[in-house]
């Protein structure tokens, strides 16, 4: 074990612990942009710098291994100055339109500016502009809000393995782009939206959710994805009794299969829920046409017809197709209905198709 003093508090950590974790253990809240516990470390945003006694420079705590007897100050004057200046540098090139930003309430830039009382940037001047329409229907890319944390790049590579995006160009002109700076649709992007999941600011957002609600307005309901058999967990974002988006939960307890990762269907395929032609009333065919009916009428009608068929041709002249789409509970009831109420084993579902 290593002994450290962090903000006058003595703690012990196992060898190999990074300073960031040690600081957190000591109760210090360290701001980070590029750090993500599930991704390759970058050590590049420099927001997590802390002052370590005896070291010439401030240390980026996310990539600094703890050493015995380190004395650390996580909010020293130098540290606070560095963080403020970094925030001001980022603001100086940021398309600041929080009023209409999809990320409001969950934006780290906003959060830290508030925390460090950064109201405006003393470095306001010229800045490179990258905004360009990407015609895909899934991901809105507004790189004038990008803070170059490269989490999206690392998630694309490290979680999805798509390697669709990377940093292109250098210095202030560095930006996130596909290999030939083209459209996502022409790259190896699979539109899983893992980049949106990790983006700490409003640079990457979902086009499907656009304008429908911001993080602080919606409630998240954890559920299992309705598409393939992988069984990813996802969060339905609900505002005013309406699903307005899908986010994911990266906690391995809550999201054991996918740990937040989703595919394009899981993340962007939710809007059928409120699609305009959803069935909202029972229908009965009359004179060749389907017409609306009450539940009692429809249920009675269906039951009577089934009973009649059963009476005339026997229970095995009736078949029931259950569904791989519905719940266990419903499948159970469906097969039970076939067996106990109709009296047939003619029950199956589309497992084979």
């Amino acid at each position: 074990m290593l002994k450290l003093t962090i903000n006058d508090k003595e703690i012990e950590v196992p060898r190999g612990t990074m300073l960031l974790d040690a600081c957190q253990q000591a109760g210090a809240d360290i701001p980070t942009f590029c750090y993500d516990p599930d991704l390759k470390l970058a050590g590049s945003c420099r927001m997590c710098v802390v002052e370590v006694q005896g070291r010439r420079n401030l240390q980026a705590s996310c990539v600094t291994p703890c050493e015995n007897n380190m004395i650390v100050d996580t909010e020293s004057a130098n540290v606070v100055e560095a963080r403020k200046i970094i925030l001001e540098l980022l603001l100086a090139r940021h398309k600041l339109n929080c009023m209409v930003c999809e990320k409001v309430g969950a934006c780290k830039l906003q959060e830290y500016c508030y925390r460090y009382d950064v109201k405006e940037s003393r470095f306001a001047g010229e800045a490179a502009h990258f905004t360009r329409e990407d015609p895909n229907p899934f991901i809105e890319r507004d790189y004038d809000k990008c803070i170059m944390c490269t989490r999206c790049v690392r998630a694309c590579e490290g979680i999805t393995g798509a390697q669709a995006i990377n940093v292109k160009d250098r210095g202030h002109h560095a930006k996130i782009s596909t290999i030939f700076d083209g459209k996502l649709a022409d790259s190896s992007c699979v539109f899983c939206g893992q980049c949106i999941m990790v983006c700490p600011v409003g640079a990457l957002t979902s086009k499907v959710s656009m304008g429908k609600g911001r993080p602080f307005e919606y409630e998240k309901v954890l559920t299992t994805c309705t598409y393939c058999g992988t069984g990813c967990m996802l969060e339905l974002n609900v505002k005013d009794d309406t699903v307005v988006g899908v986010t994911s939960n990266r906690d391995a307890q809550l999201s054991p299969v996918n740990k937040g990762a989703l595919c394009v269907k899981g993340r962007f395929g939710w809007d059928f829920i409120h699609y305009k032609d959803r069935l909202t009333t029972p229908l009965i065919r009359e004179n060749g046409q389907l017409r609306e009916a009450s539940w009692d009428e429809a249920l009675d009608y269906a039951a009577n017809r089934l009973n009649a068929v059963k009476a005339q041709h026997g229970p095995d002249s009736i078949a029931l197709f259950s569904s791989a789409r519905v719940t266990n509970e419903e499948n159970y009831l469906a097969q039970k209905m076939a067996r106990v109420a109709i009296g047939t084993n003619n029950v199956d579902h589309c497992a084979r198709l």
Partner: protein, 529 residues
């Protein structure tokens, strides 16, 4: 799956994929496989008639002729046995009928198999050595294995291979079918099958029937039920007169759509319970509006047997009603009065009759889903099956001979057609066509065709073509590519507008599982001028 998804990322040292286009059909599983290969150096063997995405990063890629799975797997086993690479200890202690299998496999030398499958003999050898040498070899398959008249044989061959190499019962091993839809596993577990009650308790076994008769308080039918494809045929022949269809769209998903349509038209009554007026619902006599998964409580069981919660996020609209309530009401009206207060109450009944679910409660899976079998409330669930013994005791080898697919190309229909899925759509597209982004991105069907075949037929990328089989024809755009060979064309079954199942044959099915042969039928392709 005998094993878990996570093991594909963490534990498997060799992953053998056959008949699964994992990155498109189980994307998140695909990510994990990629990660294991890239970051941990796991070896990857991909066997598929198309050069799918994962083939690009495979150590061995076996591009075999569709429908020759048994031959290919027998060939691999032939090499393993001849080179003495089998797990002798495992075979001795945990399996039986090894000799029977060995006898059959002996004939399948790499050279002979190469002639059948069009895979170079040395690749068969390479794959065999790689998989056999695996510390932990995981075999995964999907519909590419099952959707054949020999589907059951194909599955047996996969099991043979795993048994032969002792790749079962340990982390990172297993025979792992990747199930296509969110709750296929659960639907099967719940006994939505003609021959089993919940938890695969066979209808034919009297003790089982008695158990359920006692629990449900009625006499239960003894006659073997009809499988879905059989039921459609029976309807066509007038033996089935009524069909209750819950969240299914056989008009698009079942083989030979014209035949399906004719069959459904002959019914006295068709009842459809769904959330949209699907192609099938449009033919119904009664339509019940159910609710989507976002509007209901319940559980799904994923492909790794993990039972997880589905939670209601929003209220349903209009008069739509909870599906469980509709079923319960119908059951009552059909003469079996019943009532439940909630899905949780139904789940309690399930537990009481389904030993593998007995230990699972909503409370226990509030945070993290559990893997069945989970027999008691103290049981932690079973991520890995068959660690000490198989459900039947010893693992049974099957002697499986290769059989050709039912309908092979000929002069009139010179190409093989395979159908399958793609990343951006789901099943019959009833949901994803209404997911605007997905449908905008992939609005219409395409057929993948090799560039040489296309050139011969004078077809350019994106041009309209007609596909014709003995059953019908559809028109769609050609996607000229080199991921499949000159004899094969591939299309997606999602699209009602150019429905691939107009083309497929439903006449010959797998004799045991009743699965249609979606991966092989004979087709003709022509340019539309």
């Amino acid at each position: 799956m005998t094993n878990t998804i996570e093991e594909l990322e963490k534990d498997a040292t060799v992953i053998f994929l056959i008949g699964t286009n994992t990155t498109e059909n189980h994307p998140v599983i695909g990510y994990k496989i990629k990660k294991n290969v890239r970051e941990n150096g796991a070896k990857l063997i991909v066997a598929d008639p198309r050069r799918i995405e994962l083939a690009e990063m495979a150590d061995v890629f076996l591009q075999f002729r569709p429908g020759t799975d048994v031959a290919l797997l027998n060939g691999i086993m032939n090499v393993i046995i001849n080179e003495g690479l089998q797990d002798k200890d495992f075979i001795e202690k945990r399996t039986e009928a090894y000799e029977d299998m060995k006898q059959v496999v002996e004939k399948y030398t790499p050279e002979i198999v190469s002639a059948i499958t069009a895979v170079p003999a040395e690749d068969i050898v390479k794959a065999a050595r790689m998989y056999a040498a695996a510390e932990a070899g995981s075999l995964c398959y999907a519909m590419g294995i099952t959707q054949h008249t020999t589907g059951t044989d194909n599955v047996k061959s996969c099991c043979n291979l795993a048994l032969l190499t002792g790749n079962l019962g340990r982390p990172g091993t297993g025979v792992n079918p990747l199930r296509g839809q969110n709750n296929v596993q659960g639907a099967c577990d719940m006994g939505a099958l003609p021959v089993t009650y919940p938890a695969y308790q066979a209808v034919a076994v009297e003790a089982n029937r008695e158990k359920f008769e006692k629990a449900w308080g009625v006499k239960l039918p003894t006659a073997k039920g009809l499988m879905l494809t059989e039921a459609i045929n029976a309807a066509y022949h007038g033996d089935v007169k009524a069909l209750y269809c819950l969240g299914e769209n056989p008009m698009i998903s079942d083989p030979d759509s014209h035949h399906v349509e004719a069959a459904l038209k002959k019914l006295d009554i068709l009842i459809v319970q769904d959330i949209f007026l699907t192609e099938t619902a449009q033919m119904a006599d009664v339509v019940f509006p159910g609710v989507s998964w976002a509007e209901k409580e319940g559980t799904f069981t994923n492909t790794e047997r993990r039972v997880q919660r589905v939670r209601k996020a929003v209220n349903s609209r209009g008069d739509a009603r909870q599906d469980w309530q509709i079923l319960s009401d119908m059951t009552t009206r059909l003469g079996y009065p019943n009532s439940y207060a909630s899905p949780e109450e139904i789940f309690a009944e399930i537990r009481s009759l389904t030993p593998s679910y007995a230990g699972i409660t909503y409370d226990r899976i509030e945070q993290t889903g559990l893997h069945w079998p989970c027999p008691t409330e103290e049981h932690p669930g079973t991520p890995i099956l068959h660690t000490e013994k198989f459900s039947r005791g010893l693992g049974l080898f099957h002697a499986v001979e290769f059989k050709e697919a039912f309908e092979l190309p000929d002069e009139e229909y010179p190409l093989i057609l395979s159908t399958g899925r793609q990343l951006y759509h789901y099943h019959t597209r009833s949901m994803t066509r209404r997911a605007i982004a997905l449908d905008t991105h992939r609005p219409e069907n395409q057929v993948q065709v090799n560039q040489k075949t296309a050139a011969k037929l004078g077809i350019l990328n994106g041009e309209k073509v007609r596909l014709t089989t003995r059953r019908g024809s559809i028109e769609l755009k050609a996607q000229v590519t080199d991921i499949l060979n000159e004899k094969l064309v591939f299309t997606f079954f999602h699209y009602g507008e150019a429905a691939a199942n107009v083309l497929t044959q439903g006449e010959a099915l797998d004799p045991i599982a009743g699965i249609p042969e979606y991966k092989v039928c004979a087709v003709r392709m022509e340019k539309i001028i």
